[in-house]
Symmetry: C2
Subunit: 441 residues, 2 copies
């Protein structure tokens, strides 16, 4: 078997065997296959596609290219959630304590963010003293003791995916469903959870801009997960505007806390409840989505989720008093309002641009080495369908640098379209994909 022949086979539309795909993934990871051959192969994959068995083989070869996290020492069915990424997405912070407070083990490995805002790991560092790099032994102990722990991804998680992704990123071979699905699922599978609930975002702020692409990705990932014995669900959720009303890092944690206190925005609550329900369903804690939602809502009413969050923060060295008093989070020194210059309804938000506004303020990473300012961010006042008067504030921006603030204000304002006609109400969830297929909402 030689790489040349395998490139050729894919180029003429052939289907590669599991053995052939392993040869490619392992060879490339070990630097035995050069970048240029892999690049030609990836382009052929983009233009000729991969079938189901090839996609599964690719995913598993990448998952097995590094450490496979062994969660067998954790009692019970381990549930995990993964989002394809969006602006204002803090559902992990809301649903993890809800689900854990119901006794389902949440042993989460999470990445740092690159781009408009930080990842869950960055956001959690808003709690003074919080550590995201506890040893594996303590990670497992914590989950067994109190059902919840979140740590940063180890460097050796699916290294093949990391290397392949870096090449795709510079060769215009990013947008292929099998490659995207394989990349996400390889890390989730290596992270060891039994139940995987995927939040596939769709819309102007999502990686997948159209419902068609998002659905295809959701279906591919559910097929992979169930194909390798992980109970997998995907929820297709809206990203035509930021989720909730807070964008940044500590400001997002504060909104997650308000949601656990029963005062959160409706869309964030709804998406968190839906994702959480499938975690419960997969973990056999509930027999139906309705039952699961009821259980999850109860964790807000009786404050058990909020207390679980505090317990979790404390266990990882963080100042849990911030859970009950968010003024303990890092605070920005400047607040400015983005003022609307006209009256009407918010009909369109270029969601990526809201993310870029947060990045400009200092809340995201332009490069891997950028340092995130956890205190900066955006509090959104007007969302899709909201009535706006001229002179009213669309959002409050929090920053620490006046020049950045000016740029951010201009960008934010430009991201909004305000028109006379009231638009249709915004949707939160478009569909669910289970092993039985897609249910559209």
């Amino acid at each position: 078997m030689g790489m040349y022949d395998l490139i050729y086979k894919k180029k003429i539309g052939g289907s590669l065997t599991e053995e052939e795909i392993k040869f490619i993934v392992n060879g490339f990871t070990k630097d035995e296959i050069p970048d240029y051959q892999m690049a030609a192969f990836l382009m052929a994959v983009c233009l000729k596609g991969m079938d189901k068995s090839e996609t599964i083989a690719l995913t598993m070869a990448m998952a097995h290219s590094g450490e496979m996290l062994d969660l067998s020492a954790i009692e019970g069915i381990k549930a995990d959630k993964h989002s394809t990424g969006g602006v204002g997405d803090k559902t992990s912070l809301v649903l993890s304590p809800m689900v854990a407070s119901l006794g389902i083990p949440v042993a989460k490995m999470s990445g740092r963010g690159l781009g408009h805002t930080g990842g869950t790991i960055d956001k959690l560092e808003s709690f003074p003293g919080f550590s995201t790099s506890i040893p594996t032994g303590q990670f497992i102990d914590n989950v067994n003791r109190m059902k919840m722990a979140i740590v940063g991804q180890t460097a050796n998680l699916a290294p093949a995916d990391k290397k392949i992704y870096a090449l795709r990123d510079v060769t215009a071979t990013v947008d292929n469903i099998s490659l995207i699905a394989g990349s996400i699922m390889s890390k989730k599978i290596a992270s060891g959870a039994d139940v995987i609930v995927l939040d596939v975002k769709t819309g102007s702020g999502a990686f997948m801009k159209t419902l068609e692409d998002s659905t295809a990705l959701a279906e591919a990932m559910v097929e992979i997960g169930n194909g390798v014995g992980r109970e997998t669900y995907a929820v297709i959720t809206d990203m035509n505007q930021p989720l909730g009303r807070a964008v940044g890092n500590s400001i997002e944690v504060a909104e997650a806390i308000r949601t656990l206190q029963g005062n959160g925005p409706e869309d964030l609550l709804e998406v968190s409840l839906t994702l959480g329900s499938y975690m419960l369903l997969g973990a056999k804690k509930a027999g139906s989505v309705e039952e699961a939602r009821k259980l999850l809502k109860q964790t807000i009413t009786d404050q058990s989720a909020l207390n679980k969050l505090a317990e979790f923060v404390r266990a990882q060295g963080g100042d849990d008093r911030a859970v009950y008093n968010t003024e303990r989070f890092p605070q920005a020194s400047i607040q400015e309002e983005v003022i609307s210059d006209r009256e009407g309804y918010v009909t369109r938000i270029i969601t990526d641009e809201i993310g870029m506004t947060s990045l400009v303020l200092g809340g995201g990473r332009e490069t891997k080495d950028s340092v995130i300012d956890l205190s900066v961010g955006i509090q959104i006042h007007k969302k899709l369908g909201d009535k706006v008067k001229a002179g009213e504030s669309l959002a409050s921006l929090y920053g620490n640098n006046m020049d950045k603030m000016k740029t951010a204000k201009t960008r934010y304002l430009k991201a909004y379209t305000i028109e006379d006609a009231k638009p249709d109400p915004a949707k939160y969830i478009y569909g669910i994909v289970t092993r039985d297929g897609l249910t559209q909402f």
Copy 2:
């Protein structure tokens, strides 16, 4: 403009501008664009194609990437011929003296062979003392004085093509018409001829195995050549068996000499006359193919072509006595016969394998650094359609090593299919492509 965007544009089937193609070719040649991006681009080209204007832009960018040979100091319309390569192909040695003896300047740059036999340059070295690396000034003087000179390709001829070809060769991106046509034509255009006659081989021993592919390549090259102001013709010729009856180096030169003496094989003569006719037509020496053929045949009858060959060999330092006495060529020490084990007609010859037999004997290069044994080769006795008796010789093999000889004999025999039914007569020429399109024969 960035390479990423250009890869993406081609991937989605877009047509690149001349400026964009120059950016890619120049950037890659100067090592500013890495191999892996070029490999992804080339695969996208293979799967999405290039249109006529892209193909011309690619060709010209590659031609201009190095030295453009200036033949303006040579009087008259300069004609050149190029073959896509085949087994036993010695037409350059036959038609160059014929055409030159009629006063048409033949200023030829030729490559060394890689693979089954040597190139024209290697074969010419069968003449003791012959030099293929005379200075450009003398090259031009020789053509002005006696209308014929053949030298090796300078290292700086279309270096972009050399670099791109090396990458295509390891990334399964060889078989795209635009890339192949551009590669050949960039070198021909940089070599400076006004008239380009292409010999596009088709069949089991050709790079293009099917008539359809060969025709497409011929059409693409003629389109490029005429598109950039070079009078270009392509003749599609048969390569389902070796051309002529000699395969090797000095043995092929001897056959070319016999042809100029009027004793050559019919197929070699016919192909040489046809290619030569279009050189004459392009150089305005003849008004019709019929007239051109008559002129060319006359150069055999009156021995002017043979004498031109001797004059040319002498001018480049070679022993021209070998033209009149081919025993002066390097001679092999062993001769063996390939004996047929059955009776019937030769119905099929795996022509590549005949080439490999010559390579095994030592007549070709396995790697760039291999040294060619000019004395070894094959004299073919039975060609397609010939009647064979059991025990009769299919070919005489000439070599200098008994082990190699044994391997060669086995390979040669296996390349033949001998069956009871007499096949249709073999064809020599399938069609001609001019600026007015294809004429099938």
